[in-house]
Amino acid sequence: MRSTDLDLLERRARRGYERSRLLRALVGVLPVALLAAVLFCLGVHPHPQVMLAVGAGVFTLGAGLLWYGRDPARAVLPGLAAGFLPLCLALCTRHWGHMCSDAECIAMCLPVCVVGGVLAACVVSWYGALRERSARFWASASGLALLTGAVGATCAGYPGVLAVTAGYAVGFAAASFIVRLRRGGRRTDKPD
């Protein structure tokens, strides 16, 4: 075969490679679409259009990360799992989350969003520190966790999304500090 034919074949094979990766990525994030469809059908979200839009964002980001591969692809599962915490907490709080006394009734949506964000940050930090992942992993997992959490946090409107983000930032900073401390401690423990 001539080299031009080989170049053509290589380009064709490359297209096939990318196509198959994309297909696998779409299949990989299919559960996210199913979950969004179930939430939409159950009507648990007060703003279904917003939920679908943010869900589409999660789907696209997840598919993009899986298609890209390497550390960003490895961030998809922990990112989704971490984001699932604020999502569930926010949706549950919307139904049962009022702390009422004789004097007043406090809506728990925003505090729960903050707690969900902190928990999501803890999950991502724990997993990332355990496997000693790169900065790309942290960025991808954080983005996906925040976006997934935002699907539930939009129950409380934009303040809910801000609350999840703030909780995530606080949790992430705290977890990073602890991880750095532990690593420093391990280094000093090592014999010379």
């Binding site: 080989l6 074949l9 094979a13 490679y17 198959s20 990766r21 591969g69």
Partner: protein, 181 residues
């Protein structure tokens, strides 16, 4: 291909499976001559080998993401190429059958020609695998299947055990070379 090259190939394929696009061209350039040579050996025709090798390369690289890093990359890729050759030969055989429907029946020896060709390829492949075994294993298997005579010092039970062990090693070598049983 020596062990270092094997390891390099495995590492490149693992990188490609992981999504490292920089490994694509090295994998392609390393695999192409080997896949083409296998297709030529199996099909005995330049044009058919070109077709089969091109199809095989596209399939191998499309399935690169499925590559299991615990397996050797080259036998895995050559297994796909071997399967592609088989598919091409079957397709050609079927096409020939259809076009021959209107003609009078061919002589019996022509009908069996493809089977004979396939059998010859299998024997060639088995002989290649046999070449990787130790000389004592080769001697035992040749004595068993080609009647070259068993070593005089060996009794029946010992020969039987040796034969079983040699066959197990031959199967393993065949699997390693062609990734098929």
């Amino acid at each position: 291909m020596n062990e270092t090259e094997h390891n390099e190939m495995n590492a490149l394929m693992a990188r490609l499976a992981d999504g490292d696009r920089a490994a694509f061209t090295p994998v392609f350039r390393t695999l192409w001559p080997k896949v083409h040579r296998l297709c030529l050996q199996l099909l005995h025709s330049d044009a058919d080998a070109d077709d089969a090798a091109q199809q095989a390369m596209e399939k191998i690289l499309a399935r690169a993401s499925e590559y299991d890093r615990n397996r050797a990359a080259l036998p895995w890729a050559l297994g796909i190429a071997g399967w592609e050759c088989r598919t091409l030969r079957r397709r050609q055989f079927r096409r020939r059958e259809q076009s021959d429907d209107a003609l009078p029946e061919p002589p019996a020896n022509q009908v069996d020609a493809d089977e004979a060709l396939a059998e010859r390829d299998l024997v060639h492949a088995a002989m290649d695998a046999l070449g990787t075994l130790s000389s004592s294993d080769q001697e035992t298997l040749l004595a068993t299947y080609f009647g070259n005579g068993a070593p005089a010092s060996v009794d029946g039970a010992t020969l039987r055990k040796r034969r079983e062990r040699a066959l197990t090693r031959l199967r393993a070598a065949f699997r390693r070379l062609y990734a098929i049983d």
